[in-house]
């Protein structure tokens, strides 16, 4: 494995070609001449070319991320495939074929190579003399790898270290990797640690004839890396072969499936695909929106829902906003007023504590103050953004994040495309803003059921949803504005939510096609 010291830097998984059409020996050079598909804006991309969208070498997904939880708010645990096998055995080819044939959006690849231990000065020098054994279980930080994989499995975003093979240390920057529907974890020692094995739902051992593997290595190292035959053989005999015999080959006993002949074995790969698909269908129910609509029908509105008092003014505002003859100018003006009333109402639901102040006259005044660390807003593009001015005019200097969720025209499922959230949102009280909840009362029920700690604040709830998911009586059908709505989430820290998780429940508010 000493050839790794020649890599300019980096995350092994980043350097590997993921394209099944390319040479899949895992060489870093093959990537440079891979004309990567342009990561055209996910907003504009057509469904047909989005299905296997590629932005980096690590993730293949549709334009956005579909829900990773079911309509009860339970996380759909991703399926983890462990891939183990000797150096140059064809692990990457197998991984690519799995990704390609699965056709499942959001597959993440994680490589054990990212978790090489940081070397001491002595070890670093030995490595430079090709005398450090990278092919040993002790050279990997398995605890860290297990922690990262575990978090990924919980649907949380993780930071994957980037190992620099020049300095044999981790770079300061890290790679953000988000949870996925399928996670492929690969590495020569992938099965060598129990804590990692326990996290894998399926363990695949890629086996290739030792002669074939040596031939591949020779070809790769000599032809592509200008190394001499003697050096490569020396390294092979000293580290690579003993390591395989001693640590890698025995782990085949943990494998569920052994794939002989590596990536060329299309029958074996086909079997794997079938099995994974089968498993995924059980854990990833589709028709998310239809489920939302049918769930909780005919029940009284949940207690976590708070509706603005229906004063004459509020009803008057609704009458103007909902009127199909309302001019755009009136629509904007009066919805702004309603939003301000809504936000004032939402703020009144925050926790407060007693606060005694001294007045200008010198007397004491017993009042209240906000009893929380901070407040921030998150608007759901695009309709949610219209509420930002109202929020900003009521809360001074509020930080506002954004989330973009769009409907996949093919599947009619909501997909997460973009999110930028204020730092430290875990500690904040968050006002999540959207102008309407397309699924109406059903959506409100679902949010309340799946996320009981989320307070929902709205100006009005329309009772019915028709089969086109249009709310009756509705607001503006052309733009699908149905109920004026704001969701408000209290005490995120209590459920220790990561940014990624935080966004997940926002998808209960599917966006209309604006």
């Amino acid at each position: 494995m000493a050839e790794k010291s020649e890599r300019p830097c980096g995350l092994a998984i980043n350097l590997r070609s993921i394209s099944p059409t390319e040479d899949s020996s895992g060489s870093c050079d093959s990537i440079s001449d891979t004309p990567s598909q342009p990561p055209s804006s996910p907003l504009k991309s057509k469904p047909e070319n989005v299905r296997m969208f590629r932005r980096s070498n690590r993730t293949i997904y549709t334009a956005g991320r579909p829900p990773w939880y079911d309509s009860q708010g339970q996380l759909k645990e991703p399926f983890v495939i462990g891939l183990c096998g000797g150096s140059a055995s064809g692990k990457t080819t197998v991984a690519n074929k799995i990704i390609e044939q699965l056709g499942v959006p959001w597959v993440s690849m994680l490589s054990l190579d990212s978790f090489y231990k940081v070397l001491t000065q002595e070890q670093h020098e030995a490595a430079n003399r090709n005398e450090y054994n990278f092919d040993h279980p002790d050279s990997f930080d398995a605890d860290l790898a297990a922690m990262v994989l575990k978090k990924l499995k919980e649907g949380k975003s993780v930071q994957v270290p980037i190992y620099d093979f020049k300095s044999h240390a981790r770079l300061e920057q890290k790679h953000d990797l988000y949870g996925a529907n399928v996670i492929i974890f690969e590495g020569i020692m992938a099965f060598a640690y129990k804590e990692l094995r326990d996290l894998m739902d399926m363990k695949v051992f890629v086996d290739a004839d030792p002669d074939v593997r040596l031939a591949r290595r020779l070809k790769r190292d000599i032809a592509e890396r200008q190394r001499d035959l003697v050096g490569v053989l020396q390294q092979y005999n000293k580290f690579v072969k003993p390591a395989f015999d001693q640590y890698i080959a025995p782990t085949v006993v943990y494998a569920d499936i052994v794939v002989p002949r590596g990536g060329e074995n299309s029958v074996a790969i086909d079997l794997i695909i079938r099995h994974v698909r089968n498993q995924l269908e059980q854990v990833l129910p589709m028709a998310f929106r239809a489920q939302l609509r049918s769930a909780h029908q005919g029940q009284p509105l949940p207690s976590s829902l708070s509706i603005v008092e229906s004063t004459p003014q509020v009803r008057g505002l609704h009458s103007i906003i909902r009127n199909e003859e309302a001019s755009r100018d009136d629509f904007i003006f009066y919805s702004k007023r309603l939003m301000r009333i809504l936000i004032e109402h939402a703020l009144s639901l925050l926790p407060f504590t007693k606060n005694v102040v001294t007045t200008m006259e010198g007397t004491k005044y017993e009042g209240r103050k906000f009893d929380g660390k901070r407040l921030c807003g998150v608007s759901i593009l695009r309709a949610g953004e219209t509420m930002e001015p109202a929020l900003e005019s009521v809360v001074k200097d509020i930080r506002v994040g954004k989330i973009l969720i769009q409907t996949n025209e093919y599947t009619s499922e909501p997909e997460l495309h973009y999110h930028r959230l204020p730092k430290g949102i875990n500690d904040d009280h968050v006002l999540l803003m959207d102008a309407t909840v397309a699924t109406g009362a059903a959506g409100v029920h679902t949010i309340a059921y799946a996320y009981p700690k989320v307070k929902i604040v709205t100006a009005e709830v329309d009772p019915e949803v028709n089969d086109k998911f249009h709310i009756i009586p509705g607001i503006v059908s052309g733009r699908m504005r149905r109920i004026l709505m704001m969701v408000y989430h209290e005490g995120i820290s209590e459920i220790d939510i990561s940014e990624q998780q935080f966004t997940k429940w926002t998808e209960f508010i599917p966006q209309g096609k604006n």
């Binding site: 009803r315 008057g316 609704h318 102040v357 007045t359 200008m360 005044y365 209240r368 103050k369």
Partner: protein, 217 residues
């Protein structure tokens, strides 16, 4: 409102308005508004239905606290006073007459709503009352707003109307008379046909709203 104004012209008492029981952000209004089921707290019931208090929640209490706090900087004072004023104005608008109406929504369904009647106006009492004009204007883009300036005559030591400008047809209009602090007791004694809407009734009278809001002496 003509009554109130007519009387006011003769014997408005700015001094006394600011004295005794002070209250914040009052919207004085002619009576004849929709009756409210809400009753003020016990000690205020002596004023009867002529005194209304906006819905108080902890958020409103926080606003009131910030405005009373002498440590509050002027920028914050103005910001939070504006917020409180807006809440009072919104509630004030609720007191105006309306009629039911149904509108057709873009989905084709009917929405049973209501429409407010026209023919209202605002009058601010200079100078502190002007602080409330913005709140009213932000809610009603085209509402007519008049002004009254009352000062104590140096010679006679009595308050006098120095200046008054009203929208046409005043006698036909419902008037939202705006002033941030005034004495509930005195006003209601003099003008029993007026409804007062406020956010808080205090036993100790805060002073200097105008000074802090406008940054003047």
């Amino acid at each position: 409102m003509p009554e109130l104004l007519a009387k006011g012209r003769k014997d408005t008492q700015e001094e006394s308005l600011d004295r005794a029981r002070g209250e914040k952000c009052s919207v004085g209004m002619e009576n004849g508004v929709a009756p409210s089921d809400e009753k003020p707290p016990n000690h205020l019931q002596e004023f009867g239905p002529q005194l209304k208090i906006i819905k108080i929640n902890e958020q409103v209490r926080e606003l009131q606290t910030i405005i009373r706090d002498r440590e509050t900087e002027r920028g914050d004072f103005v910001f939070y006073a504006d917020r409180l004023i807006r809440l009072v104005v919104e509630e004030g608008l609720n007191q105006l007459p309306y009629e039911s109406c149904s509108v057709k929504t873009p989905t084709g369904a009917m929405y049973e709503g209501l429409a407010f009647q026209r023919g209202n106006c605002g009058v601010s009492i200079m100078r502190s009352g002007e602080a409330m004009e913005k709140g009213l204007r932000d809610c009603c883009r085209s509402i007519r707003i008049g002004k009254i300036l009352i000062k104590v005559n140096e010679e006679t030591k009595t308050p006098m109307v120095y200046y008054a400008k009203f929208p046409p047809g005043m006698e036909q209009r419902r008037v939202l008379l705006m002033y941030p602090l005034l004495s509930v007791e005195l006003v209601l004694k003099k003008f029993p046909s007026v409804t007062i809407l406020t956010s808080e009734v205090l036993s100790d009278c805060p002073s200097s709203f105008g000074q802090r809001y406008f940054g003047t002496d």
